[in-house]
């Protein structure tokens, strides 16, 4: 059966999104076909206008509607601690209640020679400048504990080694609700190494 052009186009476009295969794309399109035109317009416009009013925060490089984001302009937070993350999604994760009260710096990626991402492609220079120019007490490296995350963290740590600023790395270990039985050996090693006293 030759599918109508508009259906094929929508399937192809949805199929380009991560985690949406051809079958899921088909299902979504045939679900949308049952919806009223106003629902399609709302969804379509939401996607088209997604980036319209967005800028990068001039301080922390996070996505924002204003030149300085809501976190950087919040005086109740501790501006002397910077938490370095790779993506805005990590900021959302860390912004759950009572997790962290400092400010952030978003790198927009991780150093990855395989994917051709060099330090110059990230906001590392801006971070170094920001740390050196302001009265910063601590920089927390909160990149993922993957190969790329670790090497990016070490790269930044070396760049800041000539300062007196405390540089820390988020703890690695068994997550709450996790199972020691199924943890890999590097995680276990780090959990033992990083043990804390009661």
């Amino acid at each position: 059966m030759k599918l109508p052009y508009s259906i094929n186009l929508a399937i192809d476009e949805l199929n380009k999104l991560p985690g949406i295969g051809i079958k899921t794309a088909q299902r979504l399109v045939f679900y949308l076909l049952q919806k009223k035109q106003v629902s399609l317009d709302t969804l379509g416009d939401a996607i088209k206008n997604l980036k319209k009013d967005l800028v990068y925060c001039k301080k922390c490089e996070n996505i924002s509607e204003t030149d300085i984001c809501s976190i950087c302009s919040d005086d109740t937070r501790d501006h002397s601690i910077i938490c370095v993350v790779s993506d805005p999604l990590d900021v959302i994760a860390l912004e759950k209640p009572d997790v962290y009260k400092g400010v952030y710096h978003v790198l927009h990626g991780l150093i990855s020679p395989i994917e051709g991402v060099s330090p110059a492609d990230l906001t590392i220079d801006k971070l170094i400048e920001r740390v050196k120019k302001n009265d910063i007490k601590e920089v927390i490296m909160a990149t993922n504990p993957t190969m790329e995350g670790e090497s990016t963290a070490i790269y930044i740590q070396k760049k800041l080694s000539d300062t007196k600023i405390k540089i820390t790395r988020i703890a690695q270990g068994i997550p709450v609700g996790g199972d020691i039985e199924y943890a890999d050996e590097i995680t276990l090693k780090n959990a033992i190494k990083g043990r804390v006293s009661y």
Copy 2:
């Protein structure tokens, strides 16, 4: 962290789609944020224009770009056999090579008292009229073997019982590559009952 309005809107809208939870919606939106504006426009327009040039085929009620769909206007097909399905997606599934060469009738749903879908909400009356007015030899009931699918099939079969037309139901049994060990008892019963000789 207060997310920008446009991001929240896009997350909410994607979250309305079936199978897309809040986490997946967030991931998709932050993926889209990295894309160029032209990609967002293409996807957004594909969704908005999805239904623009679509109509229902006047014969089989399938989705079509023309008054009579490509299947109903194909003279090489057998127009005396009608396969009754619930959705256009079922037509796509049956249109794989060498599966079926007759025509279809799309019900656009199944009778479901729980969801408030009565026979009048479907295209059943049109099917009965079509079957009685044309020279039809066989009607194949190809609704899913679920409670709703079975009752819809039986309802239509009863409506057509005053005609001499052959009414059949798609076979139930173990799918190719399936495992008898894990098949449920009703499927096994149907597989035994519907056994065929070599």
